[in-house]
């Protein structure tokens, strides 16, 4: 990178964030996106030992549902082949929720407590033990920490003059976050339609070079900040690895 880049947050939450990055190439922006999706490892249930299951669903179906429940994954605490054991024991009539999972490790908990696993009728019971492992989104989508991760080119909107007096007015749609007079504006504020923001004006929309608006959401296994940091760490470590391999 031959110039500095700057980051500006448009929206910042634990699980969802929108931020603008200036001074990165499209290749680098896409690299971060791909890494957030496929290369940041998270914990998810990978093996289940069923002790009793008299519910209406098969063991395999229940195992799949448990696998999809996001588990909190504290950074730098776990290695690739660590195993965390969780167990669940629910007797009907009741519904087994993700929150009923009891973890052997306090740091690893279901990120969402109210996901129904299976509804149990009178006399039915679900008792099982599960092993959670650390894997990347490459191996299985359940290990994918980032959900709907993407970016858009930042667009700059400028008023260039008045619209033709007798011209048919057509909607002028832009999406995401745009720059108007140096300010970042969410297009949802004016219904994504520039003719509503600037009635009777002629506007020009240009892509801003090397500026990208990222949209990042996580499944709850970590915060957006951790996800982005770990994605960039992953790129860095692989770049260093390549450098080592290439230099004699």
């Amino acid at each position: 990178m031959d110039e500095d880049y700057e980051v500006e947050f448009v929206e910042r939450g634990d699980r969802k964030a929108l931020f603008l990055v200036r001074g990165v190439t499209p290749a680098f922006a896409n690299g971060i996106r791909r890494t957030m999706i496929a290369d940041v490892p998270t914990l998810a249930i990978d093996e289940v030992r069923v002790i009793e299951n008299s519910s209406v669903m098969f063991d395999e179906q229940i195992a799949l549902r448990l696998g999809l429940v996001p588990l909190t994954t504290p950074p730098a605490e776990f290695d690739e082949d660590d195993v965390v054991t969780l167990s669940i024991d629910v007797a009907g009539p009741a519904t087994a929720y993700s929150g009923d999972l009891v973890s052997a490790d306090d740091m690893v908990q279901p990120a969402d407590q109210n996901v129904p696993i299976i509804e149990l009728k009178d006399g039915q019971r679900l008792e099982l033990e599960a092993d959670a492992v650390l894997e990347t989104g490459k191996a299985h989508a359940k290990h994918q920490g980032g959900v709907s991760v993407g970016y858009r080119h930042l667009q700059r909107v400028e008023v260039v003059g008045d619209a033709d007096e007798f011209e048919e007015s057509e909607p002028n749609i832009v999406r995401g976050v745009v720059e108007i007079d140096g300010e970042l504006v969410d297009t949802a504020e004016f219904d994504n339609d520039l003719t509503q923001k600037f009635p009777g004006k002629e506007v020009a929309v240009h892509d801003v070079e090397k500026a990208f608006v990222f949209h990042v959401e996580t499944d709850g296994s970590m915060t957006v900040e951790e996800l982005v940091n770990r994605a960039t760490d992953s790129i860095e470590s692989r770049a260093l690895e390549l450098e080592d391999a290439v230099s004699l």
Binding site: I45, E47, D59, A63, H140
Partner: protein
């Protein structure tokens, strides 16, 4: 091997002489009970 009669829901043990039949009610449909072994399932 333990079975359960599908009509009277009682536990049935089969021997080699009795044939497939519930000794309590004579019903010929028996359901095999699930094993108590722990079953390992790979989450894929």
């Amino acid at each position: 091997m333990s079975y359960k009669c599908s009509r009277c829901k009682r536990d049935v043990t089969l021997d080699e002489y009795g044939g497939v039949r519930c000794p309590y009610c004579g019903h010929r449909v028996l359901l095999k009970e699930r094993s108590t072994d722990i079953k390992e399932v790979d989450v894929r």
